[in-house]
């Protein structure tokens, strides 16, 4: 018997569903290990996870609320990775977007909400975009690796934000806590439903996904981004302006991450602090890769990751298991889905091979 791998040209929808389902089931089986180790019962834990993620309007809203920034940072990674621009800096771009939102939206100008909200969003988009355009220019000019630069800039940005919220941006009414002045009411993103945290950032994310989907499939820009991403030399030879295309990608990618930051301050927190994001920028990379860099897939993957986290976290509270299990469940699910993607690319065949004596 020998085992052999054959690359697939296409993965059918039913295969994708089967693989996703199998990955989910295996992840759940693995989760049983820590649950039992902590003295819980797996079946109960599964049920509580499901309840915690989708079991009530509140749970669903919390899941979608957590998915909102993940959709945007996921799209940010997806669009950049398609062009082989390795933006690991969505975390920093998110903060810079949030910072821009606070700068224009905390009383600098007075506008009615119909104008104020778009202004805040555009500011956040441009600021986040700029934060990615700079490393891209550095890469083009000096050949310095953008993975490392964007990664390093995350730390710089967070320190910068800490400096601001302890300094010039500090809210005089915050009793000394390092946080910025809050946004004015007109700049806040309205909630989607009363008493639930879900806000218009979610709609922004969905619209962004739709626009990106259209861009990738239907536009010249999408075509050029693909060409540049897949083969820079051939794209350049064929007359596509490679550097300019990369800068556009950088702007869009950073901008989307910036919008995630806008959503978190204007939709959830109202003010900026250096703990605005528990790593949404990094999770966005995971989300994008799980989605195979597809914009629509990114939305699904973001909801999946959010649901796993929210569900597992809620389960930990109901069972008294340490809340660190939530991240553990996310990690296990992620790795299972990742392994599953292998079976979408290859079919595994067992066969007898004839080898003469």
């Amino acid at each position: 018997m020998s085992l052999r791998l054959e690359p697939r040209d296409h993965a059918s929808v039913s295969l994708k569903l089967t693989v996703s389902l199998a990955a989910g089931v295996i992840a759940l089986l693995l989760v049983a290990v820590p649950v039992i180790a902590a003295g819980g019962t797996p079946l109960e834990a599964y049920w509580l996870m499901l309840q915690g993620a989708f079991g009530s309007m509140f749970a669903l809203s919390e899941t979608l609320n957590r998915a909102t920034p993940l959709i945007l940072t996921g799209l940010a990674a997806a669009v950049a990775f398609r062009a082989k621009l390795w933006n690991i800096g969505a975390e920093g771009q998110l903060y810079i977007g949030a910072l821009a939102a606070v700068c224009v939206g905390s009383g600098l100008m007075q506008l009615p909400p119909v104008l104020m909200i778009p202004t805040v969003m555009v500011a956040g988009f441009l600021a986040g975009g700029l934060m990615m355009v700079i490393p891209t220019i550095i890469k083009q000019r000096f050949g310095a690796d953008e993975v490392v630069i964007t990664l390093l800039l995350n730390f710089v940005v967070i320190l910068f934000i800490q400096m601001l919220v302890e300094g010039v941006l500090k809210d005089p009414l915050s009793m000394g806590w390092p946080q910025s002045v809050p946004l004015i009411a007109e700049a806040k993103l309205p909630k989607l439903l009363p008493r639930l945290r879900m806000h218009w950032g979610l709609i922004t994310g969905l619209v962004a996904a739709l626009i990106l989907w259209l861009m990738v499939r239907k536009t010249v820009l999408g075509f050029e981004i693909r060409a540049v991403g897949e083969n820079k030399a051939a794209a350049r030879f064929a007359g596509i302006p490679v550097d300019a295309t990369m800068l556009k990608v950088a702007l869009i990618s950073g901008g989307l991450a910036g919008l995630a930051g806008v959503g978190e301050v204007a939709g959830v927190k109202d003010y900026l602090s250096s703990d605005l994001s528990p790593g949404f920028g990094y999770s966005g990379i995971v989300v994008a890769m799980l989605a195979g860099l597809s914009p629509v897939g990114t939305v699904i993957a973001a909801v999946f990751v959010a649901a796993v986290f929210v569900g597992a976290d809620s389960m930990s509270r109901a069972t008294g298991i340490s809340s660190y299990i939530a991240d553990l469940v996310v990690a296990l699910s992620l790795l299972c889905v990742l392994v599953g993607s292998f079976f979408l690319r290859f079919s595994v065949k067992f066969e007898r091979r004839q080898v003469g004596a």
Binding site: S2, R4, E6, K218, T219, V220, L221, G222, F223, E224, R226, A227, E230, N231, A233, A234, A235, R236, F237, A238, G239, I240, P241, R353, Q354, V355, G356, A357
Partner: protein
């Protein structure tokens, strides 16, 4: 020859890739001291067979047997390059398998010493020196491979095999990237090695070479063995017919009727990267004329190509298109002005492998109204163009939506021809237009280029294959060390003259010199 002992024996090798049968029950024997040429169209299965022999691929059926020390044939375990190397097989791959960050010597030593030891660099160097002295394969062993020319890389590849005391040497299209001189040098080495008892399998699309160097010829067609010939009794026609399965028509060139100058290099120099550098180049490309650019690779051909492609701008002098200076034209400007450019490295610069055939055909013009409106792609128009190109240029592929990476080299070349010629360009740069293509595909490309000339296009053909230049060019120019010399009309030239000029030993053709 066939009396000599069998070194290597393939028995009924079959290999399938999904539904495709790349090798169908192929058997062959290789004898001591024999040079066996393996021929076949692109995609016939030559490389696949060699990859199985060497353990890169695992065959579905059949055996590879190699003469062992005890004097009998022993079966190789499938899928183990290590075992193949141990058994005395050496392979020079179609695409280089060199670590570019290491020196030539380190590439040769790689894998030959116990991993956890301090290595034996001095011993290795001495052994390589001995081999280079015997074989004439001279190369700087301490330069990083990245800094070597393709010819030098090729020599390192051969040295890798010889260093391991190979009994059988397999060379997959070794001359595709060599200059005629380098190729000639290689043949001398191969003959000497064969005389010393080495068995050689040699893959090439160049029938002239095959006839000159091999003892026996094996032809593959669509994965099956189409025939076997003794070289001494074979001729070009018979081989070509066996490969293609039908007669290959000769391409005939009628004399040119040159018209106005369309593109002109006026004292153009290009600084920087050594292999691109040019100094004071003058060149006129006239309507209805094919200019052949000869030269040993690395003497400035890539600089001239980069200028015409819009990838470089002259550091001094003027480049004119239709009489106007175009010192700062981008690739897109040139495309729009009607310049067709065929890149030297078609896989690297010519196509985006993961995009479809249709996308690759439209790529130069996506922004034109033909393929997009207000930033939105017109997919229908793109597919229509692709469909007509596929049939018009005989691009063998499953259809316009197939990914370009699945096409063979010849078909990629036809795709590029379709892309650039369909617009009826006025200036054409054909850089190594048939490198690695089989005879049928070569003839097709030549026919297309000649047709474009007859339509009134100005053509510059850059090639290291002098046969090709003599088949196409109306006029020759030769580049040496960044300087361009006019060699005159092809009718008045012979190979010897061009060879001297390529070597930099004559500035003008002998006899025309003032």
């Amino acid at each position: 020859m066939t009396d000599a002992p069998v070194l290597l024996s393939l028995q009924n090798i079959t290999k399938r890739f999904g539904p495709l049968i790349a090798n169908n029950a192929i058997s062959l024997d290789l004898h001591r001291g024999e040079i066996l040429a393996l021929l076949g169209e692109n995609g016939a299965g030559k490389t696949t067979l060699m990859n199985i022999l060497f353990g890169h691929y695992v065959q579905d059926e059949g055996d590879v047997r190699v003469l062992a020390d005890h004097g009998a044939l022993a079966t190789l375990p499938p899928g183990s390059p290590g075992a193949a190397l141990k058994a005395g097989l050496g392979m020079v791959h179609q695409h280089f398998t060199l670590a570019e960050n290491l020196s030539g010597l380190d590439n040769i030593r790689l894998g030959t010493e116990p991993l956890l030891s301090f290595g034996r660099e001095a011993t290795a160097r001495a052994k390589v020196k001995k081999i280079t002295a015997e074989s004439g394969l001279d190369v700087d062993l301490d330069r990083r491979v990245a800094d070597l020319t393709v010819g030098e890389k090729q020599r390192i590849e051969i040295l890798k095999a010889l260093y391991r005391d190979a009994k059988v040497l397999i060379l997959d299209e070794p001359t595709a990237v060599l200059t005629p001189q380098e190729a000639e040098g290689l043949f001398v080495v191969l003959r000497r090695l064969a005389e010393n008892g080495l068995g050689v399998i040699f893959i090439s699309h160049k029938l002239g070479e095959v006839l000159a160097v091999s003892h026996r010829i094996l032809v593959l067609r669509a994965g099956t063995k189409a025939g076997e010939l003794v070289t001494a009794k074979a001729d070009r026609r018979a081989i070509a017919d066996l490969m293609v399965g039908k007669a290959v028509a000769e391409v005939v060139r009628i004399p040119a009727l040159p018209g106005e100058t369309l593109m002109e290099f006026d004292g153009v120099s290009l600084n920087g990267a050594g292999r691109q550098a040019l100094s004071g180049v003058n060149l006129k490309l006239r309507s209805g004329e094919i200019v052949g650019l000869a030269g040993v690779s690395g003497n400035g051909q890539s600089g001239i190509a980069a200028l015409i492609s819009g990838l470089a701008v002259p550091s001094s002098g003027t480049l004119r298109l239709y009489g106007e200076a175009i010192t700062k034209a981008s690739p897109r400007d040139l495309v729009e002005a009607g310049v067709a450019r065929m890149p030297e490295d078609r896989q690297h610069d010519g196509v985006v492998g993961t995009m479809s055939v249709a996308d690759n055909i439209a790529i130069e013009e996506v922004r034109s109204p033909a393929f997009s409106k207000m930033g939105l792609l017109d997919r229908k128009a793109m597919r229509e163009r692709a469909t007509s190109a596929i049939s018009g240029y005989d691009v063998r592929c499953p259809g316009p939506d197939a990914e370009a990476r699945l096409l063979s080299g010849g078909n990629v070349q036809k795709l590029i021809l379709a892309r650039v010629l369909e617009r009826e360009p006025r200036v054409i740069l054909a850089n190594q237009p048939t490198r690695g293509l089989d005879v049928g595909a070569q003839a097709e490309v030549h026919r297309r280029i000649l047709a474009a000339r007859d339509r009134g296009a100005a053509v510059l053909v850059i090639s290291e294959d002098l046969d090709e230049l003599f088949a196409l060019a109306d006029r020759f120019v030769v580049v040496h060390a960044g300087e361009l010399a006019d060699a005159g009309s092809s009718e008045s030239l012979d190979r010897g003259t061009i060879g001297l000029m390529m070597a930099g030993q004559a500035r003008t053709p002998v006899g025309i010199a003032s």
